[in-house]
C-alpha cells in the first residue's frame, strides 16, 4: 500500500542535501593535456598521466582553476587564498591511480548560497540554499560490464574499461543541509539544480548536459518528525540524470522513507540508484560503515594560492545572473508571474527564448512549448529537451499559422508529425497533405450536406436559436477533416441559414 505524498508531509519534515558534479568544458583534462571531447573512441584520449603509468605526474590545468573560481564567485562563495589538493584513496578498476585527486579540508570556494524561487500555494516564494563548498577534482574512467542481465558488475561476463573520461575536470558543489522546505522539497531540489545549471551555462564553464553526465546530481534526503530536532538517517540517490528526475527522486525517497518509518523500520544509510523508468530507487552501496579514504595532501602538486587581484578580475567578468535575466525576459515578453513560474518550472525558458529570437511572437512560442509540446513530453514520459522538435520548427509553425496556411488545430498535427520524426514542419505539411480548406464552394457543399442530415438542428438555427449552430459547425469540420477555418464555416453556415448579422 503506497503512502500518499500528503500523508508524508503531514507527519514528516524532509531535509535535503544536494551534491552536484559538473564536468568543466576545458579543452584539456584536469592534470594532463589530453582532449576532453565527449564520445571519442574508447581509450584514444589518454596519456601516461591519465593512465597512471609509473612515473607520470599531474600538473594542474589553470583554466580549470579559473572556471572553479568563477563558479565560486557566481555562487556567492568566498575564495580561499590558499587551498590544496588531496588524495582520496580507494581501489576501483576505472580509477587508474587507485586514488582520486580531489580537495578535502582545504577547498577552493566556501560558504556561498543560491536563491531559488518556486511557485507555492501562496504564490512565488524564494528559498535560500546554502552552499558549503565548491571544490575541484578529476573524473574517473568508465566501466562497461558486458554480459549478464543487468549491465551491472554482478553477473557480468567481463568488463571493459574506457579511460577517456579519466581526468576530466570535475567541480563538486555541495550544499549545507536544506531544512524548512516542507512539502516543496522536491520542487526546491529541482529549482536549485536548474538554477545552478543556468548559472553554469551563463558562465560558459560547462556543457551542463545532464543526459551526457556533464552535470550529475546526488540527492540526499532524510525525514524527521515535524518539530523534531535530530536529523533522520539519509539516503544518497545517484544517477539522477534530468531536472525532472531530481524532483521525482526526492519525492520518491520521501515516500519510501516515510513508509519505512511508519512501519517501525529504519532507513539504511546507503547510496541508491534512481531508475528513470519506474521513478524508484534501488539499493546501492551501504554507507553504514564509513569508507576510510585516507585523505592526505597531494604531494605531487603545490598549493593553489590565487592572487586577490586575479579573483577581482574574474569577478568583473561574471555574466548576468539567471534570476536577473528571467526578470528581464518577463518584462520584455510581458508575461504574468504565474505563467513565468510555469515556464521556469517546465524548464522551457531557454527554448522559448530561442524560439522568440527566431521571430516567433513570445506568447505563441510560450503557449506551444508549455502547452501542446509539454503535454506530449509528459505523455511520452521524457524531457522536452529529448523531443526532436526544435525552436526552429516551432518558429516555422507559428509563422505558418500567422500566414493563414495553418489553423491552430492543423498546427497541432504538424507538431505531432515533427515529434514523430516525420521531418521539418514543411515536410510534415506536405507528407500529410495538411492544408486549410479556403474554397467556399467545397465548404458550402459540406454545409448543405450537414444541414440536410441534421434538418431539425438547422431549423432551430434558422429560427434564431444560435447556440445550436455549434453542433453543425463541428459536423462540418469533421466533414472537411479539420482542414477548414472554423470562423469561415460559421460565417457561411449562418449566412446559409439566414442568420447573417
Amino acid at each position: 500500500m503506497t503512502l500518499s505524498y500528503d500523508d508524508v508531509i503531514a507527519k514528516y519534515e524532509p531535509v535535503l542535501g544536494l551534491e552536484v558534479h559538473v564536468e568543466l568544458n576545458t579543452n584539456s583534462k584536469m592534470f594532463c593535456g589530453c582532449s576532453t571531447v565527449f564520445g571519442a573512441e574508447p581509450n584514444t584520449q589518454t596519456c601516461p598521466v591519465c593512465l597512471a603509468l609509473p612515473g607520470a605526474l599531474p600538473v594542474v590545468n589553470e583554466k580549470a582553476i579559473e572556471s572553479t573560481i568563477k563558479i565560486g564567485l557566481a555562487l556567492n562563495c568566498s575564495i580561499a587564498p590558499f587551498s590544496r589538493f588531496a588524495r582520496k584513496n580507494y581501489f576501483y578498476p576505472d580509477m587508474p591511480k587507485n586514488f582520486q585527486i580531489s580537495q578535502y579540508d582545504e577547498p577552493i570556494c566556501v560558504d556561498g548560497y543560491v536563491d531559488v524561487e518556486i511557485e507555492t500555494d501562496e504564490g512565488p516564494k524564494t528559498f535560500r540554499v546554502e552552499v558549503e563548498r565548491v571544490h575541484m577534482e578529476e573524473d574517473t574512467g568508465k566501466s562497461l560490464h558486458v554480459g549478464g542481465a543487468t549491465g551491472r558488475i554482478h553477473g557480468a561476463e567481463y568488463s571493459l574499461l574506457d579511460y577517456n573520461r579519466a581526468g576530466i575536470p570535475l567541480v563538486e558543489i555541495v550544499t549545507k543541509i536544506v531544512p524548512g522546505t516542507g512539502k516543496y522539497a522536491p520542487e526546491v531540489a529541482k529549482a536549485y539544480v536548474a538554477e545552478l545549471r543556468d548559472i553554469l551555462r551563463a558562465l560558459g564553464v560547462s556543457d551542463v548536459k545532464m543526459e551526457q553526465g556533464s552535470l550529475r546530481c546526488d540527492a540526499n534526503v532524510s525525514l524527521r518528525l515535524i518539530g523534531a530536532e535530530k536529523l533522520g538517517t539519509r539516503s544518497e540517490t545517484k544517477n539522477v540524470n534530468s531536472l525532472r528526475s531530481v524532483e521525482r527522486a526526492v519525492r520518491g525517497e520521501m515516500i519510501r522513507h516515510a513508509e519505512l518509518l511508519n512501519a517501525g523500520g529504519r532507513v539504511v544509510q546507503e547510496t541508491r540508484h534512481f531508475q528513470e523508468d519506474t521513478g524508484l530507487t534501488r539499493s546501492g552501496r551501504s554507507k553504514e560503515q564509513a569508507e576510510d579514504y585516507r585523505y592526505f595532501p597531494e604531494p605531487d602538486l603545490v598549493p593553489v594560492a590565487p592572487d586577490a587581484a586575479w579573483i577581482e578580475e574574474l569577478r568583473a567578468t561574471l555574466p548576468e545572473r539567471p534570476s536577473i535575466r528571467r526578470k528581464r525576459l518577463q518584462e520584455a515578453w510581458a508575461v504574468p508571474d504565474k505563467e513565468m513560474a510555469a515556464m521556469i518550472n517546465a524548464d522551457v525558458l531557454d527554448i522559448v527564448e530561442a524560439t522568440v529570437l527566431l521571430g516567433s511572437d513570445p506568447t505563441k512560442a510560450r503557449s506551444w512549448w508549455l502547452g501542446e509540446i509539454s503535454r506530449i513530453a509528459n505523455d511520452k514520459n521524457v524531457a522536452i529537451a529529448d523531443l526532436t522538435i526544435t525552436p526552429q520548427d516551432v518558429a516555422e509553425i507559428v509563422a505558418l499559422v500567422n500566414a493563414g496556411e495553418l489553423t491552430d488545430k492543423l498546427a497541432r498535427q504538424v507538431v505531432e508529425g515533427v515529434i514523430a520524426g516525420e521531418g521539418k514542419p514543411s515536410e510534415v505539411v506536405a507528407k500529410r497533405g495538411i492544408k486549410v480548406v479556403n474554397d467556399d464552394g467545397a465548404l458550402m457543399a459540406a454545409i448543405e450536406k450537414v444541414c440536410a442530415e441534421q434538418a431539425e438542428t438547422a431549423e432551430k438555427v434558422r429560427n434564431g436559436h444560435l447556440p445550436a449552430a455549434g453542433a453543425l459547425i463541428g459536423a462540418v469540420m469533421k466533414e472537411t477533416k479539420g482542414q477548414a477555418d472554423a470562423a469561415r464555416v460559421r460565417e457561411l453556415l449562418l449566412g446559409h441559414l439566414g442568420q447573417a448579422n
Binding site: P48, L51, A52, L53, P54, G55, A56, L57, P58, V59, V60, R87, N89, F91, P93, P96, K97, N98, F99, S159, L161, A290, D292, R294, Y295, F296, P299, D300, L301, V302
Partner: protein, 498 residues
C-alpha cells in the same frame, strides 16, 4: 680507459683519441666480464647503447657542437622510465613493462648525448638500504662481494666502483644515492628537492624522492648534475629557477673563508670508530684548506627517522596503489569468473616483496581515520621542526657536514631480518630529504678496522647546491694528494681485465 673519470673520457672523445662506440663497447665488455659477480645491472641495452654511441660519433664527425658529456656511457637506476626499455623498479610487479615514454631525466641525458648502457639493480621501489630487497637478487659490493653495496641505489654505485660505468643516475628518498656512494667509495649527490624533474621517476615517496648524479669524482657528478637538472613543466614541484653553477664550483674547489658546520647530533655514539676517525681527518683537511669549522646543533634530528618512517610509507601506500594489474605489469589469477578485485589482490600478493608490503601496511595504517593526526600529522610537524633546525644551522654555517652513514658496508643477510637496524643506517641522510635541501657523499678513506670505504656528507641550503660541490672538490683534492691515488685503486681486482 674504463678507469678514467667521465671528464677524462669526454676529453679523449673531444680530442678524437677514442670514439663513443669504442668507449661504450669497452664498458659493455667490462659488464660481461664482471657483472656475474657484481649483479649491478638488471638489463643491459647493448644494441641501444651502441646505436646511441654511433649517433654521437657521427655528430662529432660532422663537427656538431656537443655537450660536455656527449658520448660518455651511463648506468640508469631501474626506477627511471626509459622509452622501450624494461623498467622494473626491482619489482616482480613491473616485470616485462616497457614504458612508452621517457622520463625527463632520460630525455635530458639523450639531449646531452649521454649513452645509456642499461638499468641498474635497486631495492624494490627504492625501499631499502642494501639492494637485498630487489626481487631479482642482491647486488654485491665490489670492495667485498659478501657485503652490501648500499641501497636503494646499490646497482648504480656498484657499477661505478666496478668500472662498469663512469656515470650513473640514482634517486634519493632517505639516502638512496648517498649511502650507496659512501659504502662503495664513490660520489653521489642528492640535489635540492625540485632541482631535477621527478617526471618519469617511479614514485616511492613523492615529497622526498629526488633524482641525482653519481660518479667517481666530484667534477663528474657536477657535469652530470647540470645535464639533468632544470625546471620541468611536467613536474609541478620542479623549481623554476636557474640551475646552480655546480660545475664551476667543482672546478674551483675553493673553501677559503667558508664556514663548515659540524652537526653535533650526527656523530658520536653509534658511529663506527673508523667512520669517526675518517670524518675528523677530513675536517682537519678542510680547515687546512682555509675553511672555518664550527659546531651546530639540530635538536630535532633525533625524531627524523621516526617521522620519515611515517611520511614515506604513507605516501608509498598511495603511490603504489596503481600497481593493480589492470593496465600494465604482472597479472595473476585472471581466470574465468575471477573478479577484478581478486585479480588485484592476487597480483599485489605475488608481485610485491616483503619490505614493500610492510611499508604499504604501515602507511595505510598511519593515514587511517582516527590515526592520521597522531601519525602522519605529527610526522609533518616534525618535518617542519627539522627544516627550522636546518634554517638556524645555516645561519651559522655555509654548509653542514657529517659522516654519511654510521657504519661501513655490512654483510649481505646481516640485517635482512631486522628492519629497524637497517633503517638506522639512514639516520644521517634522512634529515636532508625531510628538509628538501641538497646533500653529497664523497669518499673520505677506509675505516681502519675493516678496510672498507667511509663516506663524508656535505649538506647545502635549498638551491645553493654549488656550495657542497666547492667543499666536496676541496676535500677530494686534499685527500687525493694525501693518498697519492684514487681510493678505488685500493679496491680488490675483479674478474675482468684492468
Amino acid at each position: 680507459m674504463i678507469r678514467n673519470s667521465a671528464s677524462e673520457m669526454a676529453a679523449k672523445l673531444a680530442a678524437g683519441e677514442t670514439t663513443s662506440v669504442a668507449l661504450t663497447q669497452a664498458h659493455l665488455d667490462r659488464i660481461t666480464a664482471v657483472d656475474a659477480d657484481i649483479h649491478a645491472f638488471l638489463y643491459v641495452d647493448t644494441e641501444g647503447a651502441l646505436a646511441q654511441a654511433a649517433a654521437v660519433d657521427a655528430k662529432r664527425a660532422k663537427g656538431e657542437k656537443l655537450s660536455p658529456l656527449a658520448g660518455v656511457p651511463l648506468a640508469l637506476k631501474d626506477v627511471m622510465a626509459q622509452k622501450g626499455v624494461p623498467t622494473t623498479c626491482g619489482s616482480k610487479i613491473l616485470e616485462g613493462w616497457r614504458p612508452p615514454y621517457d622520463s625527463t631525466v632520460v630525455a635530458n641525458l639523450k639531449k646531452n648525448d649521454v649513452v645509456i648502457l642499461g638499468k641498474t639493480n635497486m631495492d624494490e621501489f627504492a625501499m631499502g638500504s642494501s639492494t637485498e630487497n630487489s626481487a631479482y637478487g642482491p647486488t654485491h659490493n665490489p670492495w667485498d662481494l659478501t657485503r652490501i653495496p648500499g641501497g636503494s641505489g646499490g646497482g648504480s654505485s656498484a657499477a661505478l666502483a666496478a668500472f662498469e660505468a663512469p656515470l650513473a643516475i640514482g634517486t634519493d628518498t632517505g639516502g638512496s644515492i648517498r649511502q650507496p656512494a659512501a659504502v662503495t667509495g664513490t660520489v653521489g649527490v642528492k640535489p635540492t628537492y625540485g632541482g631535477v624533474s621527478r617526471f618519469g621517476l617511479v614514485a616511492f615517496s613523492s615529497s622526498l624522492d629526488q633524482a641525482g648524479p653519481c660518479a667517481r669524482t666530484v667534477l663528474d657528478t657536477a657535469l652530470l648534475h647540470e645535464a639533468i637538472a632544470g625546471h620541468d613543466p611536467k613536474d609541478a614541484t620542479s623549481i623554476n629557477a636557474p640551475v646552480p653553477q655546480v660545475v664551476a664550483a667543482a672546478k674551483s674547489g675553493d673553501v677559503k673563508g667558508m664556514k663548515i658546520g659540524v652537526v653535533k647530533e650526527l656523530n658520536g655514539d653509534g658511529y663506527q670508530p673508523g667512520v669517526r676517525a675518517r670524518f675528523e681527518e677530513s675536517l682537519e683537511l678542510l680547515a687546512k684548506a682555509g675553511a672555518e669549522i664550527v659546531e651546530v646543533s639540530a635538536p630535532n634530528f633525533e625524531y627524523a627517522l621516526a617521522a620519515y618512517y611515517l611520511i614515506a610509507p604513507s605516501e608509498c601506500s598511495s603511490n603504489l596503489a596503481r600497481f593493480d594489474a589492470m593496465r600494465y605489469g604482472l597479472r595473476v589469477g585472471d581466470v574465468d569468473g575471477a573478479s577484478a578485485e581478486s585479480v588485484m589482490n592476487l597480483t599485489r600478493e605475488v608481485g610485491f616483496g616483503k619490505e614493500v608490503k610492510r611499508r604499504i601496511i604501515l602507511g595505510t595504517y598511519a593515514l587511517s581515520s582516527g590515526y592520521y593526526d597522531a601519525y602522519y600529522g605529527s610526522a609533518q610537524k616534525v618535518r617542519t621542526l627539522i627544516t627550522q633546525d636546518f634554517t638556524k644551522a645555516f645561519e651559522k654555517a655555509d654548509v653542514l657536514v657529517s659522516p654519511t652513514c654510521p657504519t661501513t658496508a655490512f654483510k649481505i643477510g646481516e640485517k635482512a631480518n631486522d628492519p629497524l637496524a637497517m633503517y638506522l643506517n639512514d639516520i644521517a641522510t634522512i634529515p636532508v630529504n625531510m628538509a628538501g635541501i641538497g646533500g653529497m657523499s664523497l669518499p673520505s678513506g677506509l675505516a681502519d678496522e675493516d678496510g672498507l670505504p667511509v663516506g663524508f656528507q656535505i649538506m647545502s641550503p635549498v638551491m645553493k647546491d654549488e656550495r657542497m660541490y666547492s667543499v666536496g672538490a676541496a676535500l677530494e683534492a686534499a685527500l687525493l694528494s694525501k693518498w697519492g691515488a684514487p681510493l678505488l685503486d685500493k679496491a680488490p681486482v675483479l674478474g675482468g681485465a684492468r
